[in-house]
């Protein structure tokens, strides 16, 4: 049985000659590409609109908070019980004087005792 490359080639060529692509194939493809582009554009528009809405809600909420909440310092000063060791490391604690644990100066009684 003879089945060589030449014979296969001839059979395939003869078969392929009987068909040709339809003339409207490019129209179909370009229409589909256009539909894709429109779909993508619509998706982008929806995403932008959603982002704008979110931004507007955020700004409105911030404004309401600003109007409703009375003015006060943004950060409450840390109040520590006298003698608390953490106070030693807080800035400005030592300058205030008093009996805080941040005060590393010796009292006169302690100095007298040392003497």
């Amino acid at each position: 049985m003879r089945v060589d490359g030449r014979m296969i080639r001839e059979v395939l060529r003869a078969e392929a000659e009987r068909v040709s692509p339809p003339p409207d194939l490019w129209e179909r493809i370009s229409r589909e590409l256009e539909r894709n582009r429109n779909r993508q554009g619509a998706r982008m528009q929806r995403a932008t609109a959603a982002f704008r809405q979110l931004l507007a809600v955020g700004v409105a909420a911030g404004l309401c908070w600003f109007l409703a909440v009375p003015a006060r310092p943004a950060l409450e000063p840390v109040v520590l019980a006298p003698g608390h060791w953490v106070g030693a490391f807080l800035p400005g604690q030592a300058d205030r004087g008093g009996l805080g644990a941040g005060d590393l100066r010796w009292s006169s009684a302690e100095i007298t005792l040392l003497r």
């Binding site: 014979m7 080639r9 060529r13 692509p21 179909r28």
Partner: protein, 210 residues
């Protein structure tokens, strides 16, 4: 030619619509004939061509000129043709046609070869035409790429994502299957190779890289 092609691809990547059409016109006939020879139905072949070009155009920005554009295009076409045939097979399994209709359709396809109209009119060639139609799509793709499009083994390997050795063995198997099918049809079982049953046993319906 390569420079012209590169320039065309670059224009497509820049979003030039006329470049897309030019690209389509350059490859339309080849891709359509390839699809037709693999799926063996003009309507299905149109779907394969449409899907192939849509996929390629949608992802043309990802093409980095590392491989040949033609290989990439054919690779998409092979995958589309096989996917489409697989889908059709599943559909037919879910909704089987009555045996008589199936037999009628098969006969219609086989009679589609009109010896008096064709240049090649011998009984041998008619049988070869039928035998090619009986190959599974993976082997048929390789046969079409090799003998119709005249790609080299390494080019086919790049298209279907297999080593060149696999391409050679697939071609060998395909020729063997064709020879055996024809021998059976001619009523010459003595010409059927002993390996026929092994060869015609379930062959994978997927290309190497999937």
């Amino acid at each position: 030619m390569r420079d012209v092609e590169s320039e065309l691809i670059a224009r497509c990547q820049a979003g030039d619509q006329s470049a897309l059409e030019e690209m389509f016109l350059v490859y339309r006939d080849d891709v359509f004939r390839f699809a037709y020879l693999v799926v063996r139905d003009a309507t299905l072949a149109q779907d394969v061509v449409q899907e192939t070009f849509l996929k390629v155009f949608r992802s043309i920005n990802k093409f980095e000129f590392r491989s040949s554009f033609k290989s990439w295009l054919y690779r998409v076409a092979v995958n589309e043709a096989i996917t489409l045939l697989r889908r059709r097979k599943i559909r037919e399994e879910l909704d089987p046609m009555p045996g008589a209709i199936q037999e009628h359709q098969r006969g219609r396809l086989e009679r589609a070869w009109q010896p008096e109209e064709a240049v090649l009119d011998s009984e041998e060639r008619r049988l070869l035409h039928v035998a090619i139609g009986r190959l599974d799509p993976v082997h048929r793709s390789v046969v079409v790429l090799k003998y119709f499009h005249e790609f080299s083994d390494s080019e086919i390997a790049a298209i279907i994502g297999c080593p060149p050795g696999t391409v050679k063995s697939r071609l060998h198997r395909a020729r063997e299957l064709l020879r055996n099918h024809m021998a059976r049809q001619l009523g010459r079982p003595d010409l059927v190779a002993l390996s026929y049953h092994r060869l015609s046993a379930h062959t994978p319906l997927v290309p190497c890289e999937e």
